[in-house]
Each structure stands twice: as C-alpha cells, then as structure tokens.
Amino acid sequence: MKKKSWLVLMTLVLAFSTLLAACGSGSESGTGTSGQAGEGTASQDLRINMSAEPPTFDPAQAKDSQTNTALKLMYEGLTRMGADGNPAPGVAEKWDVSEDGLKYTFHLRDNATWNNGEPVTAEDFAYAWEHVLSPDTAPASEYAYQLYYLKNGEAFNTGKIKDFSQVGVKVVDEKTLEVTLENPAPYWLGLTSFYTYYPVNKKNVEANDKWAAKADTMVTNGPFTLTTWTTGQQLAWTKNDKYWDKDNIKLNTITASLVNSGATEYSSYQSGQLDYAGAPTGEIPTDQIPAAKQQFPDQFQAKGIASTYYYEFNNKEKPFNNAKIRKAFAMSINRQAIVDNVTLGGQIPAFGFVPPGIKGQTDEYRTEHKDSYFKEDAAQAKTLLAEGMKEEGYTTLPPITLIYNSSEAHQKIALAIADMWKSNLGVDVKTENQEWSVFLNNRQSGNFQVARAGWTADYNDPMTFMDMWVTGGGNNNAGYANPAYDKLIADAKATQDAAKRMDDMSKAEKMLIEDDMTVMPIYYYTSISLVKPNLKGIVVDFSGAIDFSKAYFE
C-alpha cells in the first residue's frame, strides 16, 4: 500500500516539475521582444503579421512573397524599387548604360557596408550571382532563370559552359561591376532590385554553408538586421546602424507574428496588437471586408496591383478545344457583379490579360492599349455556343468540371460563375475544390477542363504576362499553340524599337483573348490592407510587393 502511494506522489511531482520547467523557459523567451501594445505615437516599433514563415533567408533560394518582404528589410541590391515604381539607387550610387543597351557599369557607393562593418564589394555581387547560377549549388536555385538575362547565364546554369568568367558579370575593381546582357531588356534595371540579384557576403558564405539557417550567422547589408527568429512563432528585425542610409530609416524594430489565420489577424488588428494587417503579408477574410471598411474607413486600403485572376481553359480537351465555346463561356458571366458582391475588394473587371500598373511605352500599357477585346453579352454567347456545338457535332455538351484550389474566396467565385453559366448558357458545370498541391499537379499536367489561375508580374513589363503563352511554355497550362502568337513574342523580344515592341505585344494579346479566348480573364487584383492612420511611408510596388523599411509612425 505505502509503496503505491509513493509512486503516485512521484508521478505528480514529476508532472509538476516538467510544468515548472516549461513555465521558466516560457517567460524567458517572452522577454525577447520590446515595444508591445499600448505605446504612444513616439515609439517607432512596427508590428505586422506574416501568414507563413519565410522558408529561407538566402536570396539565392528565395521564391515567395513572404521571403520577399523579409529580404527587402535585410538586403539591398544594386537598385531599390522606389515609391514611383522606378528603380532608385541602392548599393549602386550610379550606373552607365552602353548605346546598344547591353552593357551596364555599376558604381557602388563607398559607404555601403555589411552589418559586420565590411564594405559591400562588386565581388560580393558576382559571387552571389555565381551561387545562384551554379549547377553545383544545393539545393538548386528555383529562381535562377531570373539571371538568364546575363550573357551566358542560362548556358552556365544548364552546364553548357563550365567557366563562370564567360558569364556577363565582371568585377572591374572593388567598387565597379560590369554586367553584359544576352539581349537588351528595358526592364532589366528594375530587376536588380529583386531578391535573386541581392549580394551575399562572400567571406561569411564560404565559411559556413548553413549561414542562413540561424539569425546570428547571417551577414546582411539592408536597413534592418534579423535579431529574433523563433521557429513558427515570431520574427523580429532591428535597425541596422551600419546601413549607409540609416538617417532615413525611422523604425527601430519590426516584429512579425507568424499566424496563418486571416480571422485571427483581423481580430488582432482590431484589438490594437498589429499596426498593419492584410495583403501581401497576411489576409483580411473576404467576409470581414464590408465590416472592416465600415469600422476603419480611414485605415482600409485597396490598391490595384499588377495581377490577373482568370480561368484557364484546357485548349486541348473537349469541349474547350473549340474557340467559339470558349468565347461563349467568357462572355456569359457578369464580372462587375462578381467584384461587387463576391470579392468585395474593389477589384477591376478584366477583359484583357495584362493588368493595369504595367508600364507601356510612355504611359501605362493598359492606358495605351485598352482591354476592349470582348463584351459580356449573354444573347451573343448563346449563339456562339450553339455555333460551336454545331462545329463539333455536339447535341449536348460533354460534362464540364471547374477546378479550383481550396479556399473560401475561390469557392465563392466558382459557385457564382457556375451559376451564371447555368442561367445564361443553360450549361451545368460541376465545381470541384482540390488541395493546393493536388490542384497544381492536375493543372500543370493538363488534367482539367477549366481551372482557376492567377498570375503576378515578375517585372514591370507586359512581357511577364505575354511570354508564358508561347507554344510549350512552362506555364502554358492551357496548351495554347499558335505560331503567329509565338512569332509576335519572338519579334518583341528581339527588337529594340520600343513602339514596335509594345505594338507586337498588344497584337499578341488581341490574339490571345479576342481571337482565341485561350483564358477567361475575370478581374485585376487589388491588395487589401488595414494600416494604422499614423503609420506612413510603406511602399507597395506595382506587383504588390511591400517594403516596410522606410515606414514610420507620425
């Protein structure tokens, strides 16, 4: 008897001591952050939420928008994307471009340093780019193609050239970098502000190949330094006093919680725990948007970004191998109704593929070339459907399934569109949600009839939307194959005549949408966020990428 009660007691003691141990460590980790809620306007401590932990802090491995947000704070490329959408000087203080637009000479500023005090050199850039392109880099850089603009960049990456000195990057001296491009690309300069082009500290990377796995082994050159990294929980950055432009950086710290729930993020904003909520780092749930607009009219922001939401027809599968049937489907929905009643974020109905916000020749491309490629017209759609069915010899349409990746927002849109197809065309379309990877797998392998899709600009030029539809293109899931289209794109890529370039691309877009209706554009995205009224200086660029580094509280 006695022995047994001892055992019970021991168990209890054990359980309790674990608990106490747990408490101890809990409060320790809690002291890491400063500047919590309730402080006045004077404190320059920003609190944001990121819906996912950045999978990497190595610019060569970066590929998603969360990492983009984090790296914009921690690194600086040759240029930095300015609030006006033009590349502004970054590490490079000035640059010269050759007549033919192929050769760039960058002059790095003398006072650009790493956060350990070492100078940022041309060698650091060349080393970083070699690291991205090298076939021996493990894991391989998925965004290496961003450097294919460099002369022989692709050849080196695919292993056709073994010698990096043949690639168009030359270190002239410590502060001068000479870059030669494969083809002249007017938008390339803007790309030097993109993460794949960031420098890395050569000495540090060579010394430790796991340098990016811990906050204290990273050496970075941006306005902020990552100081806290609690897996799955929190990230925090502190102002980097060694940054050359530190006088223009006003925030002391930036803290990001890592919560993957729009509802929780929105509640936290309401309770004052966050200063910024919503896209692109997080999300305001669609069903809360009307309430958010009403509760925070002065804090609610919906900014148009260069992304298109569309449905992709499988041009190789019945019944969408027929252009008339594709047109009938595209013309029989009411985009304004979807935007007004379903998505609620002030999105713009889309009748083209290139969204507003993308530069054209002198003005925005969308202003220079209107997206009047087709009109919504249920009666005409019905006629087209009948004609298309006749051409294919259908008496009734084969069963059609629309797939989308599981998400409440996509689901609502899919149901609304299926309903419009039903009432305007009399066609029953089955909607099916699929888990993200399953969905991508089906879409990328052509195992679908109609699939939801979205495309965001990689760089500020219509080409980022147009060259994906060339025959056999890696992202051409619709299976579009049109030699005339391919030729227009090839011509646009080869020419140096800016007017002809834009003209070729608009002809191609007309072909893609008006003639062939390869995809069905639905709307141009907006980026929806809530920003505290006294929080200023946040830069959201054309693609929706966000830069908090120059933010400040009034």
Partner: protein
C-alpha cells in the same frame, strides 16, 4: 513486472515500424512534390532538386534509405525550410504545444475530478445537476467554437488578454481554457459515475460497518478505486493534448507542432511529415505504455503474474 514491461515495449516498437512504413508509402501516393508552386519550376532545375534530395530514386530505395537514417536517429533536413533539420524544428515548435498542453491537463484533471467528486457526493442534489449540465455543455461545444467565443469576449471586447501570440504568461490563459474545457467535462462525468458505483459497492458498506471514519473511507477506498477509469482516459488525453491542437493553435496564433504538421503536409515536406509522424507515434505509444503501467500500480485487481495482465 519486467516481462510485462518488456512485452509492452516490444509491441510499441512493432507498432512504430508499421506506422512509419504505412505513412511513408501513403505520403508518396499523394500527388505533388515539395517543389510545386504557381509558377512551374523549370524541368532541368526540378530534376536537379529531385536528385539533390534523393527523390529521383525508386520509392523502395528511398524507403530503405530513410529507415536506415531513422535507426541512426537522423530525421533529415526539411525540404521546405532551407538547411533546417527536422529534429530542431520539431523541438522548437513542440515547446509551446507542450507548455499549453501540460497546463490544460493538470487543470482538467484537478477541476474534473473535484467536480465529479462533488457531483457524486451530492448525488441527485441541485449541485450535481448543475455540474452535470455544465459537463454536457462542455462536451457538446466544439473547442474551436469555444475558442473563438472566449477570444472574442475576453480579448477583443474586454481587452483582458492578447488576441494572439505567445510571449506573456497571460497568453496562456485563453488557449489553456479552450483546450481544458472538454477534458474537464469528460473527467467530471467519468469520476462521478465511477464514484457512484464505488460508493454503492459492498466493500464500502463493509468499511462503514467496521466503523472507519468518513475521511479514511473516502481517501483510502472511494477515490482510489473511483479514479481508475480516469487514469485510463488521462493517458490518451495527455498524448492528444500535448501534440498540439491545430485549431486552437490557429485561432490563438501559436506556432505549435500541430500547425507544423498540417503545414508539412500542404508543403509536401516529406522529411518533415515523417519526422512529425514518428514523433507523434512515439508520444502516443509512450502515453499508452505509461497508462498501462500506472493501471497495474493502482488497480489491486490486476495482478502481475500475467493472469489478468490487462
């Protein structure tokens, strides 16, 4: 005793092996791979990545390799999070789940047993009815509904606690409460019914007839026997609670292991999926193992001679 424990332990190892094998093959059956994104990865780069992670090998080869590594205690590195080893990520994200879980367990055991005891002692009195009605509500209301509700009320409306986060002691309160309510209700009901059974049994009547005082009867006989079903429940519950509730972690924004597990599946982060599965498996089986042993220690009716070895 040793034979009993050894037997249970062997059983545990075999179950673990089956779990690992099944998960491995099932995981490979789901479409997708760790390198999928809206933008298709170029074929040559994808092939390079697959080779670098050994995913270009036939599945049986991958399986044997993986098992070999696991036996040596190496769970590998995450395929999503660059250069981060699976063990490290599990250890770090398990901490918050464990902390919240342990609090929830202790609170639910104490509160549940006390409530059950009171209800049993005041059988068919008002206090019993109130306690049991509450218990039924507690069991019936799903924890995510309760979590959302208390978050709205205490964090958003009253502002007593943070909506999300896990840095201050007060951040424990809401998630622990949300996690504990269901077990409290369950334990209270279990305790009450088994107490009632014991109270009406012959040996208690005998004890009373022998003239033992009420306190001795309660502590020595009633509670001790009445608590047995609770012990059986507490084992699996512990495993359940400390492995992290995905929903609770999501609602209160806690980066626990539950979130990591779900995320790893969405990401097709193969090594991470396997790592967390093994970790969960070990915890669940250990909990059972300990329950079995505790049961033997507490229940005088189970003899170790093996005749009735549970």
């Amino acid at each position: 005793m040793v034979r009993y424990i050894a037997g249970k332990f062997l059983f545990m190892l075999v179950s673990l092996f089956i779990l690992v094998s099944l998960t491995f093959f099932l995981m490979k059956v789901i479409p997708g791979d760790p390198f999928m994104s809206e933008r298709a990865v170029q074929p040559q780069i994808k092939a390079r990545l697959m080779a670098q992670y050994g995913l270009d090998q036939p599945i049986p080869v991958q399986y044997v390799r993986y098992l070999g590594n696991v036996v040596q205690g190496d769970l590998g590195i995450s395929m999503k999070y660059q250069n981060q080893d699976v063990t490290g990520r599990i250890a770090q994200t398990f901490k918050p789940s464990l902390q919240i879980g342990i609090f929830a367990i202790i609170i639910s055991i104490i509160v549940g047993i006390v409530l059950g005891l009171i209800a049993a002692l005041y059988h068919r009195k008002l206090i019993d009815h109130v306690a049991m009605t509450l218990a039924i509500i507690g069991i019936a209301v799903p924890s995510f509904v309760l979590a959302t509700l208390i978050q709205y009320l205490f964090a958003l409306k009253l502002g007593w606690f943070n909506v999300m986060g896990f840095s201050k002691p007060s951040d424990f309160v809401l998630p622990v409460a949300a996690l504990a309510v269901q077990p409290i209700a369950f334990i209270a009901r279990l305790t009450r019914s088994s107490m009632l059974e014991v109270l009406n049994s012959e040996y208690i009547k005998t004890a009373k007839a022998k003239g033992l005082n009420g306190f001795t009867i309660m502590t020595r006989h009633v509670v001790r026997n009445g608590i047995l079903p609770v012990v059986t429940y507490v084992g699996p519950m512990t495993a359940n609670v400390i492995t992290g509730s995905v929903v609770i972690e999501q609602i209160f924004g806690i980066g626990g292991i539950g979130k990591v597990f779900v995320e790893s599946i969405t990401n097709r982060d193969y090594t991470m999926i396997m790592g967390v599965t093994i970790f969960y498996g070990v915890i669940l089986m250990l909990a059972r193992f300990i329950t079995d042993i505790l049961y033997v220690l507490i229940d005088p009716r189970i003899k170790l001679s093996g005749r009735k070895g549970a």
